[in-house]
């Protein structure tokens, strides 16, 4: 369950081929547990977690876990528009899932327009490569090269060991926050990608000061 106090809410969407591990990644991020058995996602599932940017605001991430199956495509597309960022997920042991990444990326770009979404490229199932259970089909260098070409952050993760899971989400959150600071992103009426929370600047203000501060807060 998400905490009550947060300064911003970002909506992020997880996209990628079926069975690459989107739901497992999200489950680990949300519960800190790995699900041995995972049913295919039906439509779109939701998760929410609040994270703290070091020396920065608290941010509630509303995470939309989409079904990778083709038959759900018409539904998942509806959720792109209100997202500020997308995690492009592939399976390091499945070449095809990596090769489809540009398609997913363009799909997201097209539907999130006119907003420019933040992407991160996340490879999953790293544990299978490390323990020798499966052969690696996508090298780390390839992924890094793709990331450099499109100027996006890349990371390889394992939802089983939990390695780099936190990093993947904090990276995209940081990037979005940077873009808010730089003024590229603004909160907009009718767009749910970024919303402001209710605890603006109130972290270290006591109750008496809070009343005074409120009118000023309302006008911004």
């Amino acid at each position: 369950m998400a905490d009550l106090m947060f300064d911003y809410q970002f909506r992020l969407i997880l996209i990628g081929d079926s069975t690459v591990g989107k739901s497992s990644l999200l489950k680990y991020f949300n519960d800190g547990k790995f699900a041995e058995v995972s049913d295919p996602t039906v439509g779109v599932d939701f998760f929410a977690r609040t994270i703290q940017i070091p020396n920065g605001p608290r941010i509630k991430l509303q995470l939309w876990d989409t079904a990778g199956q083709e038959r759900f495509r018409s539904i998942t597309k509806s959720y792109y528009r209100n997202s500020v960022g997308a995690l492009l997920i592939y399976d390091v042991t499945k070449r095809a899932s990596f090769e489809h990444i540009p398609i997913w990326m363009n799909d997201a770009k097209r539907h999130i327009e006119p907003h420019r979404p933040v992407f991160v490229l996340v490879g999953c199932k790293l544990d299978l490569v490390n323990n020798g259970a499966s052969k690696r089909e996508v090298t780390e260098e390839e992924a890094k090269q793709f990331g450099a070409e499109h100027n996006i952050f890349t990371v390889e993760t394992s939802a089983k060991t939990g390695s780099n899971v936190e990093l993947a989400f904090s990276a995209i959150t940081q990037e979005i926050y940077q873009r808010i600071i730089s003024g590229e992103y603004q909160m907009e009426e009718g767009w749910d990608g970024i919303k402001s929370g209710y605890s603006h600047h109130s972290a270290n203000i006591d109750f008496n000061n809070y009343i005074e501060a409120e009118p000023a807060k309302l006008c911004c």
Binding site: G43, F46, A48, F72, S74, I75, Y79, S202, Y210
Partner: protein, 495 residues
């Protein structure tokens, strides 16, 4: 004879058109029939005569008024006493035909009958005395005033007045001739009839010019209107969407969101950040709002698609489809027979399994069943204080409602992508059963906690109990509203 009668009927129509826009009504005047007989090629022309006919009324009234007052013309006014009063009234009316068109209309109808009996012998003698082209033109101008003012400035179409004055010379000529002749032989019936047809011919000719101008004008109006409407909105899509969207419907998720925000602000002001037991806040934290919001998104999408598809149908095909849609709607709105019906966890489980399987086999009901049975366990446990029971009850209701929202959302998704659409009616029916089951379960949860509270007898007890029942009925209505969001999704699947 019939000519003049028809003319007066049409004048009736004309006199109604106080605001000038009624020009359109002139097209389905009785004149049409008459002119089809005499001049099939000039159907249009006689229809327009109504414009000038309004002038005729003026004339007719004035002239009649004179006649009745004139002692020289003593011919055959059988009905003079009754007519007198009526005509007095008419004279007043005729000063302002536009504003008093209603009274005028009645009187004219009565006068039409009178005229049939009287005009033969009396009327035509005074034809010239009251006839003036100024009056004709001014009346025509009054009728079309609004239209032409707008049109000449916007479209540049010639005003009907101009058209009328162009042909007025002809009519004046005829009038002079007519006056001479009529004063000589007042009682010659045949002569009058031929004159009448002459007049109608002239009027027809005049009218044909007017109507041609009028039709051009109307065409321009139409074109311009469509242009303006389509500006920046090709295919009128936005406007269609505007018309079709359900304006009464407020967004449930928005209402709940606002309630939640309000409670957050309040709790903050009371410095009770940690312990918030407000219903709307709990509903959101159980992911009820986000699922409801998503369901709204899907529902709206389907609604829009539905309207677009319906626009492409017409005639019987359209009515057939609309019937089917209504049928589905009827099934979804099945009324609950028993408002007091309760359901324990076991009954709820059974009911859900049977209904869900008939709607979509892919949707998992584990979550809502888990919620339901955990509520059962908790409510059988021990509670320290009365407030604990209250808070637990609100939380249970919020959690169950949230689970129902998620279930409906998942159902919506599955219905949307389901390709086996022949079972839509079964689905709709079971949906309404499912809905009923969830509401019964909500009611029974509220009942259970309320019963626990009745053991206490504190000041707050009745407040707490009514609070629980309030949130229970809120939950039920949210759930029902959410279920209705599935309707367009179901409907779209049959098309």
């Amino acid at each position: 004879m019939s000519d003049s009668e028809v003319e007066f009927e049409s004048a009736d129509e004309g006199s109604k058109s106080g605001d000038g826009w009624e020009i359109e009504t002139d097209f389905d005047l009785p004149d049409l029939e008459q002119s089809i007989e005499s001049k099939p090629t000039e159907i249009k022309s006689s229809a327009l005569s109504s414009v000038s006919d309004l002038a005729n009324i003026d004339q007719y009234i004035e002239h009649k008024h004179k006649n009745t007052k004139s002692s020289n013309q003593t011919n055959t006014f059988d009905a003079i006493p009754t007519l007198q009063s009526r005509l007095d009234k008419l004279t007043i009316d005729s000063d302002d035909t536009n504003s008093k068109s209603h009274t005028l209309k009645e009187d004219i109808t009565a006068d039409n009958a009178l005229k049939e009996t009287n005009c033969q012998s009396s009327v035509w003698g005074g034809w010239s005395s009251g006839w003036s082209m100024n009056s004709l033109i001014s009346t025509a101008s009054a009728i079309t005033n609004h239209v032409s003012q707008g049109l000449t400035s916007v479209i540049g179409a010639p005003s009907p007045e101009e058209l009328a004055s162009m042909s007025s010379n002809k009519v004046t000529l005829l009038n002079d001739k007519l006056t001479e002749e009529s004063s000589e032989s007042i009682l010659d019936t045949n002569y009058f009839l031929s004159n009448v047809s002459q007049i109608t011919k002239i009027v027809e000719n005049t009218g044909s010019k007017l109507i041609n101008g009028g039709l051009d004008t109307l065409e321009s109006v139409g074109k311009k209107t469509l242009e303006v409407l389509q500006e920046g909105d090709p295919g009128l899509r936005k406007k269609r969407a505007l018309f079709f969207q359900n304006s009464e419907k407020i967004n449930l998720s928005q209402v709940l969101q606002e309630a939640k925000e309000k409670s957050e602000i309040e709790s903050k002001q009371n410095n009770q950040i940690v312990e918030n037991k407000d219903y709307a806040y709990l509903l959101d934290s159980f992911q009820g709002l986000i699922h409801l919001e998503s369901l709204e998104l899907l529902s709206k999408q389907c609604q829009m698609k539905l309207q677009t598809v319906l626009l492409s149908y017409s005639g019987t095909q359209l009515t057939d489809i609309q019937d089917t849609l209504e049928q589905i709607k009827g099934l979804c709105y099945l009324v609950c027979d028993d408002d007091e019906k309760l359901m324990n966890d076991e009954e709820f489980k059974k009911c859900l399994i049977t209904t869900i399987n008939k709607i979509s086999v892919d949707v998992k009901i584990d979550k809502i069943l888990k919620v339901s049975s955990s509520i059962d366990n908790k409510s059988n446990g021990e509670f320290d204080t009365e407030d604990c029971i209250h808070d637990e009850a609100i939380s249970a209701l919020a959690e169950l409602t949230a689970a129902a929202m998620e279930l409906y959302y998942k159902l919506g998704e599955m219905i949307m992508i389901d390709t086996q659409n022949h079972q839509v009616f079964v689905k709709a029916e079971n949906l309404s059963h499912l809905n009923e089951a969830v509401c019964c379960r909500i009611r029974s949860v509220a009942n259970k906690y309320a019963c626990l509270l009745t053991q206490f007898d504190a000041d707050d007890t009745s407040n707490n109990i009514s609070d629980i029942y309030l949130e229970s009925s809120n939950s039920s209505s949210y759930i029902q509203d959410a279920a209705q969001l599935l309707l367009p999704i179901l409907q779209l699947s049959v098309i």
